[in-house]
C-alpha cells in the first residue's frame, strides 16, 4: 500500500499569494467591525457579527504565519473600497447581503488559491478557511431572509491579485 505524500511547505510564489489572502482577510475583519458598530443591529446580531469578525482575524493571522515576511498584516484597501459604502444605513438585511457577498467573494478567491498553491500545507489551511466562509455566507443569507438557493450557491467572482494590495 502506498501512503499519501507528506505535507509540503509553501513556495516563494505561494507566500506571495498567501500575503494577498492575508490582506483580504484583514479587510474583511475591518468591514465586520464597521457593520458591528451599526445601530441597525441588536446586541445578539452584533454578537454574531463580532464572531465572524474574529474568524476573519484568525484566518488573517494564520495566513500571515504561512506567508512569513511577505504578509503586510494590513487590510487590502481595494477590498475595503468595494464593500465599505454598503455597510451604512438602517436596513440590516441590505448589510447582511453586502456581508454575504463579501464572504462569497472571499470563498471564491480562496478556492482559486487552492488550485494555484503548490504547498499542500498552505492549500489545506486555505481550504479550511473556504469551509468556514461558505458557512458564514449561507448563514448570512438565512439571517437576511434570502432564499434557500442564495444560501446554497456562490456566484461571486474571485478577487484579482491586484485587489490584495
Amino acid at each position: 500500500m502506498t501512503r499519501p505524500a507528506a505535507i509540503t511547505p509553501p513556495t516563494k510564489a505561494d507566500r506571495e499569494l498567501l500575503g494577498f489572502a492575508n490582506a483580504a482577510e484583514f479587510a474583511a475583519r475591518d468591514l465586520y467591525a464597521i457593520a458591528a458598530a451599526s445601530a441597525a443591529f441588536t446586541n445578539d446580531e452584533k454578537t454574531v457579527l463580532v464572531g465572524f469578525h474574529n474568524h476573519h482575524r484568525a484566518a488573517a493571522q494564520a495566513l500571515a504565519g504561512m506567508a512569513g515576511s511577505v504578509a503586510t498584516n494590513e487590510p487590502a484597501a481595494a477590498v475595503l473600497d468595494i464593500f465599505r459604502s454598503r455597510l451604512s444605513g438602517s436596513n440590516k438585511n441590505a448589510i447582511f447581503e453586502a456581508l454575504r457577498e463579501l464572504e462569497n467573494t472571499l470563498a471564491s478567491t480562496h478556492l482559486s488559491l487552492v488550485g494555484t498553491l503548490d504547498g499542500t500545507g498552505a492549500a489545506a489551511l486555505v481550504a479550511s478557511i473556504v469551509n468556514t466562509e461558505a458557512r458564514q455566507a449561507a448563514t448570512l443569507a438565512l439571517l437576511g431572509a434570502r432564499s434557500l438557493n442564495d444560501a446554497l450557491t456562490n456566484g461571486a467572482a474571485p478577487l484579482s491579485l491586484e485587489a490584495g494590495s
Binding site: 500500500m1 502506498t2 501512503r3 499519501p4 505524500a5 505535507i7 445578539d44 446580531e45 454578537t47 454574531v48 464572531g51 465572524f52 474574529n54 474568524h55 484568525a58 484566518a59 494564520a62 470563498a107 478556492l111 482559486s112 487552492v114 488550485g115 494555484t116 498553491l117 503548490d118 499542500t120 500545507g121 492549500a123 489545506a124 489551511l125 481550504a127 479550511s128 478557511i129 473556504v130 469551509n131 468556514t132 466562509e133 461558505a134 458557512r135 458564514q136 455566507a137 449561507a138 448563514t139 438565512l142 439571517l143 434557500l148 444560501a151 446554497l152 450557491t153 456562490n154
Partner: protein, 267 residues
Amino acid sequence: MNRYSRRSVLRLGGASAAGILLAACGKQAGVEENNNIRAVGVVPEAEGLSNVEVTDIVLLRTAASLEYNAIDTYDAALGLGVFTGAFAAAGDIAQRLRDDHRGHAAAINGLISQLGGEPFTCGNPRLNEIYIAPALALITDADNENPALDVVVLAHALENLAAQTYQSVVTLLTDKALRQAAMGIGQDEARHAAVLAQALNPGLAGVLASIDATTNKPNVAAVPGAFGPLTPISVTVGPLNADGTRNTLMLETPSLNSLAYPDVTCA
C-alpha cells in the same frame, strides 16, 4: 571382538540424528507447498492485502461514494414519510440537498472518467456498514419518539462529514486543479451543513459555537469555528435506552480501510 569402538558408535549416532532432523525440516514428498505457517490440520490459503495505491482516482472515487451515501440517506429519509407538519420545510430542504448531491456525484464521476478511472456509483460500503445503516436502524426503531428530528441530525452529520472529506483530500490530491474542484464541492457541503444546523438550532443563538449549560455538550452551530474542522462528528439518535441515554455514533472521514480502491465495486 567388536569392530567398532565406543567413540565411533557415538560419532555415527550423532551424525544420523542430525541427518534425520535436517530431513524433517526439508521438503517432503507428497506434501503440497503453501504460504501458511506450519500447522496441524487443514487451514485456508493465506490471502495477502492487494497492492493498492492511494491515487487521485481512488480519492475521487471515495468522494463519489460519499455523495451516494448522502443521496441514499436522503432518499431513505424522504421515504420514511416523516417530513410533515412542523418538518414539512425540512422535507423541501432534503429534496434540494439530495439533488445537489446527485449533481456532485455526476461532476466527480466526470473527473474520474477524464482521468481514465472507473466511476463509482454507489454508497461507500464501509461507511454504510459502520455509520449509516446503524444510524437508520436506530432512527426507524419503533420506540424512537422523534424520527423526523433524528433524520435531520443524521443528515447534518453526513454533510459535515462530506465537507471534512473534501477539505482533507486537498492535501492528498496531486493535481492542483483537482484540489480546487474538490474544494468547490466541499464548500457546497459546508453550506448544506450550515443550513441544516440552522434547522436544528435556529436563529442567532445557533450561529456560533456554544455549550449547552445543562449537558455541557456543544450545541449545533452553523459556523462552529474560524477554520473547517477535521474532528470526529458525534451523532446521537434513536430511542432512549434503559439508563435514559441515547446511542451515539462517531463519524470520521474515510481512512485507508474505507477508500474506494479499484477492486471495491458496487456489485
